[in-house]
């Protein structure tokens, strides 16, 4: 299985590192021809205005839309969620309009309002006790889903309401950054959308790595 990771800007290397731990070939996509032969695409975190411009300049919008139409799986994290939206609260950036969701950028405020929090997410693999462990979610200048279309399934909400993880068929979007946590469950979930026999939920093919933490730095 080959997964493209949009690499025009943002934390694409972290997604590729998680895919590598799952024995999946993750490749950087900066130009349309680099989408040839990929089975799915991840649009990483970054600055959505920058992603939007670079996707336009290098003619990546049409081939990504075509992938979605062919039923290939696409996952947007943070800025990637903004790019997948049908509509956003501002005129800029210009989203791809692939998922039937409305999204508000910087929904929590500025950087000092960025946060970490445990989330219950529907559809994650269950542990031996028959329940899914909460997912430690990192929200950085994060967007939220403000409107969910009828075909869209909400996978996770914050305690005060807004949806922060959604799925519509083979498309999914998360407000937070699973690629920064060392928890690969959402990556496995995404891969299971492509190939139910792949390293999806229930198939433990990796040794979980603890999140990197800088010594001497207080939390």
């Amino acid at each position: 299985m080959k997964i493209g990771v949009l690499a025009v800007q943002g934390d694409f290397a972290e997604h590729i590192a998680v895919l590598r731990r799952l024995d999946v070939d993750g490749r950087e996509v900066r130009l349309p021809e680099q989408l040839d032969g990929v089975d799915g695409l991840i649009i990483p975190g970054g600055e959505s205005t920058t992603l939007s411009r670079l996707m336009s300049i290098y003619h990546l919008r049409e081939p990504v839309r075509a992938m979605a139409e062919q039923g290939k799986a696409i996952w947007g994290t943070c800025a990637g969620m903004i790019m997948l939206a049908q509509e956003i609260t501002e005129a800029d950036p210009v989203p791809l309009q692939l998922m039937d969701i409305g999204v508000r950028r910087n929904a929590f405020g500025r950087q000092i309002d960025s946060f970490e929090q445990d989330l219950d997410i529907a559809g994650l693999e269950l542990d031996s006790g028959g329940k899914a462990e909460p997912f430690h979610a990192i929200f950085i200048r994060a967007p939220v889903v403000t409107r969910v279309g009828p075909a869209v399934e909400t996978l996770a909400v914050l305690p005060d309401g807004p949806a922060v993880a959604v799925r519509q068929g083979n498309l999914m979007a998360t407000s937070f950054h699973p690629e920064l946590t060392g928890d690969a469950r959402l990556h496995r979930y995404f891969l299971s959308l492509i190939s139910p026999d792949g390293p999806g939920p229930g198939r433990e093919t990796e040794t979980p790595a603890p999140p990197k933490r800088v010594e001497g730095c207080r939390r």
């Binding site: 970054g46 205005t49 960025s114 929090q117 920064l180 990197k212 010594e215 001497g216 939390r219």
Partner: protein
């Protein structure tokens, strides 16, 4: 009730991860900030004067008027950074109070303390700091910096010092990776850093936080050079708004950072950019006027 954690090192250094592969541009007003955002900047650095003017004007350079910074924050949706003087923790408190997204504790401003840097762990807002070598980088990380950049020699348009500093960090990490374990204690002492942080750097094979290039980047090829040398992204200070066509140059440098390994695209984006900023050779600057040697 679920714990909500803000201001953690994960959240601070995670923000820098989102800036990777991007260009952070110096701007002095809201109009320039808008041009930078349109050009594809991942963030802007709000200043009263760009480093080239600070260098030309001389005198004491301080934190920018908060009203100017707030004007810029109002105008753009991308993150806004601002500089405080080295060791001036009250300037940093003020910047945090107005809701800045990132603080650059910068040698470009006149240092307020020639011995101590700001204890950055005390802040919810993340900091970026300059370095010339691995020791400086790790000392700043110990103080709480969530992002590192080369110092280069700001306001010159001469990339030579940024190259020197990036190579110094990368060489030291390569040396560290091959060093026998029993030499690490002495290396930590020589660098003036903790053994734990040195070991962590050795294990990761890179700085434990994002590392940008800064100080003298003026062209798309300068930016791509720094990326090929291992930078995670690029700050462009005077290079954009001191050039003949800032919008076009900014747009080209953004593309050069994305496609830093593709010489054909670099050739394309280097065409018809108009006048670059007038440079000063870093070598021609008298020792006492160098910015990079301030507070190490």
């Amino acid at each position: 009730m679920v714990d909500v954690l803000t201001g953690t090192f994960t959240v601070k250094s995670g923000h820098a991860q989102m800036l990777k592969g991007g260009v952070i541009m110096d701007v002095v007003n809201a109009e320039q900030a808008k041009i930078a955002e349109e050009a594809g900047a991942v963030a802007v650095m709000a200043l009263e004067r760009v480093p080239a003017d600070i260098r030309a004007d001389g005198g004491v350079a301080r934190m920018t008027d908060p009203a100017v910074i707030l004007g810029i924050m109002d105008r753009v949706s991308i993150p806004v950074m601002a500089k405080c003087r080295i060791g001036h923790f009250v300037e940093a408190q003020v910047l945090e109070a107005i809701g800045i997204d990132y603080i650059d504790e910068s040698e470009v401003l006149t240092p307020a303390d020639e011995v101590h840097h700001v204890w950055k762990h005390d802040f919810q807002v993340p900091f970026v700091c300059g370095c010339r070598d691995l020791g400086e980088a790790l000392r700043r990380i110990s103080e709480g910096a969530a992002m590192i950049r080369t110092k280069g020699e700001a306001g010159t348009g001469d990339v030579v010092e940024a190259v020197r500093h990036m190579r110094a960090v990368q060489d030291a990490i390569r040396k560290l990776r091959n060093m026998p374990e029993d030499e690490l204690v002495v290396e930590a002492r020589n660098l003036g850093v903790s053994l734990d942080l040195l070991q962590q750097t050795r294990e990761m094979g890179r700085l434990p936080v994002v590392n940008f290039a800064a100080g003298g980047v003026a062209t798309p090829t300068d930016a791509a050079l720094m990326m090929q040398l291992g930078a995670d992204g690029v700050f462009v200070g005077s290079g954009i708004f001191k050039s003949g066509d800032p919008a076009q140059r900014g747009y080209s440098i953004v593309q050069a950072v994305t496609h830093y390994n593709d010489p054909k695209i670099l050739a394309d984006v280097s065409k018809d950019l108009g006048e670059p900023m007038v440079g000063i050779s870093a070598r021609s600057i008298p020792e006492e006027q160098l910015l990079a040697t301030r507070s190490i």
